[in-house]
């Protein structure tokens, strides 16, 4: 039997197409999760491993900072404000006190400004070291955690030696830094200046931090698996970043050269010589690498500051009971996580009338629905980790 040519051609062109129906699944990442840096909840609608709609739900850690500041005095609010971004404790206090000093019109002595700058840069090193520790852990490598935390202990010991607290120094007072204990008595006035051996210990600690940063660089940065997991993942174009209000290392990794330390004058950064690391692509690898380079620059600033610190009083002459005059002001600073701003409204009392806190992480995670569209679930974790946010900073 001879096959009909038309039939043969028809049969050879036939194909069966079957559409596999894969129903979507709603996966709750958080609020209790090893990788969300706190109690962040992501409601992810996923199809297999690919997420196509991710909505963050925040507010699990709201502590009412702005409301509670209305009924506290300035030293008390300084204590509370340490705990917003608890990883970098000292850097949260500085813009608040600078705002109060601007309204009061008081001039801060040079030595106090230098001490503030040194402690802020140490807080920055401490915060970036925590990032170095936790980000590879989310990708699966467990060892950089211990290397980074080992060096962070040295920096925290330095902070403790000066201020008495590792994470929450509470060392700023209006007019300068905390001058003394027993400020009212004549018998015992303990000046809270830098303790003996601080400069030598700081130099040693900074050298060890640089060595550990080189070790982390060798362990993590060139590792092929890390590069495969983070290069090209979570690319954030600079115009999108600017439009969402992203700030800090995330913005710099996208290629925007903007650092508030060079723009604002809340601390004497103009006296020091340091560079601003900028990324090229805006992917996770760049965000990691920018923070690594920032640690090196912070170490440079601390070393210059120690060599050139002037002597002098620790606090300007201010009355015992400080009443800040009427007025309102906004001071912004470069927190390790990004831009942190305090909008202070005062009505002449001992405490703020209204304090609005603009935190970096709140704006940084507003890009999550945009950037997490259509990515795989392991990439969700990688991108979230690279943004380096802390829930206390998000929810206040």
């Amino acid at each position: 039997m001879v096959l009909d040519q038309d039939l043969v051609r028809h049969l050879s062109e036939a194909s069966v197409s079957v559409e596999l129906e894969t129903p979507e699944m709603t996966l709750n990442i958080g609020p209790q999760h090893p990788s969300t840096h706190g109690v962040l909840r992501l409601v992810a609608r996923v199809d297999g491993e690919r997420a196509f709609d991710v909505q963050p739900v925040i507010g699990y850690m709201h502590r009412g900072y702005e409301k509670i500041s209305e009924v506290r005095t300035y030293p008390q609010v300084t204590t509370l404000v340490n705990r917003i971004d608890w990883v970098s404790g000292y850097a949260n206090e500085v813009p608040f006190i600078v705002a109060a000093e601007k309204l009061l019109g008081v001039e801060v002595p040079e030595r106090a400004q230098f001490i503030r700058l040194i402690l802020t840069e140490m807080a920055r090193i401490s915060s970036h070291l925590i990032f170095m520790a936790s980000y590879p852990l989310e990708l699966g490598a467990a060892t950089p955690l211990f290397f980074a935390l080992r060096e962070r202990e040295r920096v925290l010991d330095l902070l403790e030696g000066v201020t008495g607290g590792r994470f929450h120094p509470n060392f700023n007072r209006i007019g300068g830094v905390k001058p003394a204990y027993g400020s009212g008595s004549a018998t015992r006035k303990v000046i809270q200046d830098l303790p003996a051996g601080f400069f030598a210990e700081t130099r040693v600690a900074m050298d060890k931090v640089l060595y550990a940063v080189d070790e982390l660089d060798a362990l993590v940065a060139d590792n092929e698996i890390i590069v495969a997991r983070t290069k090209g993942v979570g690319i954030l174009p600079p115009d999108v970043a600017a439009s969402f209000g992203v700030s800090g290392p995330n913005l710099r990794a996208s290629g925007v050269k903007f650092d508030l330390r060079k723009v604002e004058d809340y601390l004497p950064y103009h006296l020091f010589d340091f560079e601003i690391p900028v990324g090229e692509n805006g992917d996770c690898w760049d965000r990691w690498h920018v923070r690594l380079l920032e640690i090196r620059q912070s170490v440079r600033i601390v070393q210059q500051a120690i060599d050139g610190i002037p002597s002098g009083p620790l606090q300007a002459k201010v009355p015992k009971i400080i009443k800040v005059p009427l007025g309102e002001t906004y001071v912004r600073a470069e927190n390790p996580k990004g831009e942190m701003g305090y909008y202070l409204v005062s009505n002449g009392n001992q405490g703020p009338y209204r304090l609005k806190i603009r935190t970096a992480s709140f704006s940084n995670i507003s890009i999550l629905p945009w950037i997490l569209e259509g990515v795989l679930i392991p990439d969700i974790i990688a991108i979230m980790g690279s943004l380096d946010f802390v829930l206390g900073d998000v929810d206040r």
Partner: protein, 334 residues
Amino acid sequence: MSFLTELFSNFWVSLVGKLLIVALMIPLVGMVIGFAEIKLSAKMQARMGPYFAGGRWGWAQLIADGVKFFQKEDLIPDQADRPVFKLAPVLVLVSTVGLLVVIPFGPDLIFRDLSVGIFYALAISSLSTVGVLMAGWSSGNKYSLMGGLRAAGQLIAYELPLVLAVIGSVMLAGTMSMSGIVEAQIAAGYPYVILQFLGFGIFMIAALAELSRIPFDMPIAESELVMGYLTEYSGFRFLFFFLAEFANMFSLSAIAVTLFLGGYWLPGIPESVLPYAGPVILLAKTFLLVFAMIWFRWTFPRFREDQLQSLAWRWLIPIALANILITGAFKVYL
């Protein structure tokens, strides 16, 4: 003495004896390797590891962990599929136990010298895939389900390189029986890794993937899925998985040593000493490979699932096939 040899030549007595030894070896090997892992990983991270359990060294840490697991409450989630949930860890442990049977510890020290030794070993080790999938599916938890599905994809993908990598060694030896392969290496005078370095590399990578260890631990993925398919397991069911992982590390490393590194033989050891020195040599070589597995686990992060799959299908399988081709040509023309 003659009474004992007569007793053990009885089939049933020797069977019971062998079963007892295998059953005891699994927890023992699991605990020793587990202890090595926690201490070595601690040293790699500039810390000390467990110190207090049992005195200065902390050697009793895993015994204490075992006792702790035994006395925990047996939690089964409400939505879980109870028979499947209970059966899954048993399957994984059974496949591990089955692997130990064909490892030659000495010239005549093998539990059962099957003529299809390596074929049997690879077949039994793939039973654990079914166990893992059962664990992920029956837990009634979306995270476990995702872990189980990732495991299914990964373990199936890496079975092929595992199997293809050993074929080169089998071709050189000419037999599938495990003790036969060691004897062929003794006769040749060199371990097969010198010729089969590609096969050895692929076997080790595929073995890491079969064990779900970092860098291939997507199914567990602690920072994403909170232990993946193991999330809902607690108490002695978790102990089964835990022991199975460490004992499987030992078994797969021992198979790699037998196939590629010369088994219980070292060049220069006289034949008469081999029945006594054989187990020691095998254990030493196996622990070297286990150390390498621990070293890799604590240095590298984990691959993403699609990168895993592309590594297996696009790189390891073609290289393994090329290895077989070259070995075949070598064997025919030389």
